[in-house]
Symmetry: C2
Subunit: 114 residues, 2 copies
């Protein structure tokens, strides 16, 4: 199975709308870097997307470093800061679409964003 | 200016994570239908994404009908229902990337999702 994972910072206390907008940036930017064959498989399986959370920017950087050591597509999102938060704020990380188990090696310990 | 707009139903009372996942579906599916030249302009301008809200499924259908009368890319998202809501629930509508003013003719009266 394939999935895409978006990891959001909760310490920024973004609104639901702002959270969604940032997640969309991560989803799209990571998608654009994905392998075409993986995209096709992911689409056939139902474009699974999972939204996870971390509490700090540091955790996002650590996860980003780990993903960069793999061949998984990844996007670290830096907000332009028109609303809610200062420009240049790192808000979330998008990973995949990629293999479920490969992604879980890096993000399997994280909790769902509720 | 170009933008992409995602319109979420608030009556489903989705969590932040579920809202973000549904918005990502809408963003990506609408993106895939967009004209390449519009995508390039949108990217050059900073991939503006705006998250709006409606209170009912009926309003989403009405907006969807209006968008379908234009050449704007559009995606109505029907959730597979693995969590929180029954399978087949219509959760949101993605429009664009497309021209700001053309989109505003249809969605200009809607409020931001906070």
């Amino acid at each position: 199975m394939m999935k895409q994972v978006i990891i959001m910072r909760t310490d920024l206390k973004l609104s639901k709308g702002k959270t969604a907008a940032q997640a969309c940036h991560a989803s799209l930017e990571s998608y654009k870097k994905a392998d075409l064959q993986n995209i096709k498989t992911w689409e056939k399986e139902g474009v699974k997307k999972v939204i996870l959370k971390v509490e700090t920017e540091k955790e996002l950087h650590e996860l980003h470093s780990l993903v960069k050591q793999t061949s998984l597509p990844v996007s670290l999102i830096i907000d332009a800061g028109h609303t809610e938060i200062p420009s240049g704020t790192i808000t979330c990380l998008g990973i995949g679409p990629g293999n479920d188990e490969e992604i879980d090696k890096i993000t399997g310990h994280l909790k769902l964003l509720n």
